[in-house]
């Protein structure tokens, strides 16, 4: 503004205001120059390995739980040069691995060859982080035999699969089964339900005859995976590249909400979490039944509730009347990925295969193996099953092959909206049915924020 002529104070003020307006609008106009949204990368092209050197050192990142397994491999194969690093294993929503890979992509070096990670990590690792970068995870289906891939429990690799390739091998699965206290059930004279309708009817009976006893709890941060996933509710359903369907008004969602509301009302299902602060102390010995993952046996009943050995048993996942095929949920489970930047894919693949599929490692793993032949060995190992009142092999194996694949591994956690929107509502006394729209709205918001096109129909 060339207003050098002496202006009256008021005019000067007006001129200044005009200048501010012009400057602001210039900024706003400039805002159109480049997009403020984060770059989303195009679908990954074909995988091109770097020049290989079969004698080079491989770096393996593992969490502390899987560290002994990696060390055991090194001991058994001293000729393989390995650099073993412990990190948080992406537990509890950590984004350490993602942040590091972002940095390695920037500097063009430093990637580990093999990593233990959470299924959520595969959502970004299977895509390039920037247009110039290569996706971190190598498509392992090009590295291992087809029979190896096929031997993984049905659906357990779905979290690894993008654009027709498999980007990880699953370490363990957490198939949902129906846990029950056999001693109490026998004492009360109840039969174990096989359908959700029978489960609901048993709830009404327990409420009458043994008030205070529980058939489940929905207050944990992963309860939605035990119940709504098992009900085949399309809450987190990826229908295409970056297309998310979240339709909580679907009958598969409302039937579970109605059932749970009934059982919450007659107090046979708790709105508290099994893992909440004082649950074990106040109600741990009142749990007659729990629909939950395979690790509930050791980690919930044995460690948290301290239920004596020989009382707890597992049954097949529940079905719905009129549905021939049962479906069940999955609560957790880790994966192993091979880096696409590895100079020694041969050694990296070998260790990954050994970690995920070998009886030597998986037979005594802390959690249920995703690789079916290794799972057989795991079940045959008394250390894993002697705590239970009955043989859990049947239900574990059945459930492992019944995990519903319609609950996708999304770029955001399926726990946030459930924990911060639905659970406080339940605590305030609202019904699940009335909270479904709020839950859906929260998922839609989260989905859009990470770049999905979201449909609710």
């Amino acid at each position: 503004m060339k207003s050098s002529s002496p202006l009256a104070p008021r005019r000067r003020k007006t001129a200044r205001a005009a200048m501010v307006v012009i400057a602001m609008s210039a900024l706003v106009a400039l805002a159109g120059c480049a997009s403020a949204t984060q770059s989303t990368s195009a679908a990954s092209g074909t995988f091109k390995p770097v020049t290989q050197d079969n004698s080079s050192t491989i770096t393996v990142w593992a969490d502390s739980t899987r560290l002994p397994a990696v060390q055991a491999y090194q001991k058994a194969n001293p000729s393989v040069k390995m650099n073993i690093v412990t990190y948080d294993g992406s537990a509890d929503g950590s984004t350490y691995l993602q942040t590091k890979v972002r940095l390695f992509d920037q500097t063009g070096k430093g990637w580990p060859d093999v990593v233990f990670a959470s299924p959520t990590d595969v959502t970004w690792a299977s895509q390039p982080t920037s247009p110039s970068a290569q996706a971190f995870a190598a498509p392992v289906d090009t590295l291992v035999s087809k029979s190896t891939i096929d031997n993984f429990a049905t659906g357990s690799l779905s979290a690894c699969q993008y654009n027709g390739h498999t980007y990880c091998l699953r370490n363990d699965i957490a198939q949902v089964v129906l846990w029950y206290n056999k001693t109490l059930m026998d004492q009360f004279g109840y039969t174990v339900p096989t359908t959700w309708e029978q489960y609901e009817a048993l709830g009404a009976k327990v409420a009458q005859e043994h008030p205070g006893y529980l058939l489940g709890a929905v207050g944990d941060t992963n309860s939605q995976e035990s119940y709504f996933w098992s009900s085949q509710c399309p809450a987190f359903s990826l229908t295409g590249t970056n297309k998310l369907r979240t339709a909580l008004s679907d009958p598969n969602c409302t039937r579970m909400a109605t059932l749970l509301d009934t059982m919450i009302a007659n107090k046979t299902i708790s709105t508290q979490g099994f893992f909440s602060a004082d649950f074990a102390k106040t109600s741990g010995d009142k749990v007659l039944m729990a629909n939950g993952p395979s690790w509930y046996g050791q980690y919930l009943f044995n460690s948290a509730f301290k239920t004596p050995a020989g009382q707890i048993a597992a049954a097949n996942p529940l079905t719905w009347d009129g549905e021939s095929k049962a479906a069940t949920g999955n609560v957790g489970g880790g994966v192993w990925m091979v880096s696409s930047h590895s100079k020694n894919l041969k050694a990296a693949t070998a260790v990954t295969e050994w970690l995920t599929t070998s009886d030597a490692n998986q037979g005594s793993a802390p959690t249920y193996p995703a690789y079916a032949p290794a799972a057989k060995t795991w079940l045959a190992n008394p250390a894993n099953t002697s705590y239970f009142a009955d043989d859990v092999s049947g239900p574990f194996q059945t459930a492992a092959n019944e995990i519903w694949t319609g609950w996708s591994n999304t770029k955001f956690s399926d726990a946030t909206a459930w924990s911060s929107v639905v659970l406080p509502g339940l605590t305030a006394g609202k019904t699940l049915t009335s909270l479904l729209p709020e839950w859906q709205a929260a998922i839609v918001d989260e989905g859009k924020a990470v770049g999905y096109t979201v449909t609710t129909k």
Binding site: A277, D278, T282, S420
Partner: protein
């Protein structure tokens, strides 16, 4: 206060001369002053000004380093978590500042004028103790206090209708809980400061007020509180700035309650999630600039309205 101290401002030439002499001596001392502040200035530049400028740079560009104008600001405003986070912090700030100003001043006045000096010192010490606990530790204390099954005041919580921790931390109660934590840890220090400010008031003034028939409350309202107005403004500015940056309390409560809190309850948490979960450092920088602007505007209003930086005798 102003009138009292600047009584001889416009008198004789001699006085003016003496003022001038004082001015020039002050200027000479200035060189040493620069030396003394230089260390601080270096750190301020490195850890205060440079990061702020870097935040501005990030907020005006995208992840390719291209200039996007106000695009990042527009983007974060439209984010579904933006409005709730700022609404939460606004409710919290209003409650926190009112509680802080009213209670610390009242308590300080009572400790100064209505309680025997020895007892007053004991109370001031007691009030100050919680402030010595670091942020995270004080949150842990409150996690115990708020869990009905563990709390020493569990009976009181039960009487209020809370039987589970999850009920206590219902979304509607959160601002109150954070105000409780902040007051418990922060107010003690401010009570001591306010007490010190009240000590600065010459006894003659209070004596004169008493002679004129002012009771303790009247002299508190008309003499003491107006005379420590600047300290109150100072406290408000600092508490306002600290309050907008609320982070540790909701973050700890979020993990302790196994996710029952919105992970982006406060704007600072939103910035954290944007940066470290979604890798959106540019958006996070835009959120931080919003916080900076709010802090600056708030401080600006308080400074000009209270005459905080007006030096006596000018």
């Amino acid at each position: 206060m102003t009138e009292l101290k600047s009584g001889g401002r416009d008198t004789s030439l001699a006085a003016t001369k003496s003022v001038r002499r004082r001015d020039s001596s002050r200027r000479r001392a200035g060189l040493a002053g620069y030396a003394f502040v230089s260390g601080y200035v270096v750190f301020l530049a490195a850890f205060g000004i440079f990061p702020t400028l870097y935040a501005f740079y990030l907020a005006l560009t995208n992840d390719h380093g291209q200039f996007v104008g106000l695009g990042q600001f527009a983007k974060v405003i439209q984010d579904f978590r933006f409005a709730p986070a700022f609404a939460n912090i606004l409710i919290y700030l209003v409650m926190w500042l009112v509680v802080l100003v009213v209670l610390t001043v009242v308590v300080a006045v009572i400790l100064r004028s209505r309680i025997k000096p020895g007892l007053s010192a004991v109370f001031r010490f007691l009030f100050y103790i919680p402030g010595a606990l670091a942020g995270v530790a004080s949150v842990l204390v409150w996690l115990f206090m708020l869990a009905p099954g563990l709390s020493p005041v569990g009976g009181l919580l039960n009487a209020m209708g809370f039987t589970q921790f999850a009920q206590v931390i219902a979304p509607g109660n959160l601002p109150v809980i954070f105000v409780l934590i902040a007051f418990w840890t922060g107010a003690g220090g401010w009570i001591v400061v306010m007490y010190g400010a009240l000590n600065n008031i010459p006894d003659e003034i209070l004596e004169a007020a008493r002679m004129d028939g002012a009771g303790p409350w009247k002299s508190a309202w008309h003499i003491q509180i107006p005379m420590i107005r600047k300290w109150i403004a100072y406290m408000t500015i600092l508490a306002f700035a600290a309050g907008t940056q609320l982070f540790v309390e909701p973050q700890r409560l979020q993990s302790a309650s196994l996710g029952r809190l919105d992970p982006t309850w406060s704007p600072n948490q939103l910035a954290y999630v944007l940066a470290f979960q979604f890798g959106d450092f540019n958006g996070a920088a835009a959120v931080s600039i919003f916080l900076l602007l709010i802090g600056l505007v708030g401080a600006g209003i308080l400074v000009t309205r209270s005459g905080l930086f007006k030096v006596d005798g000018e």
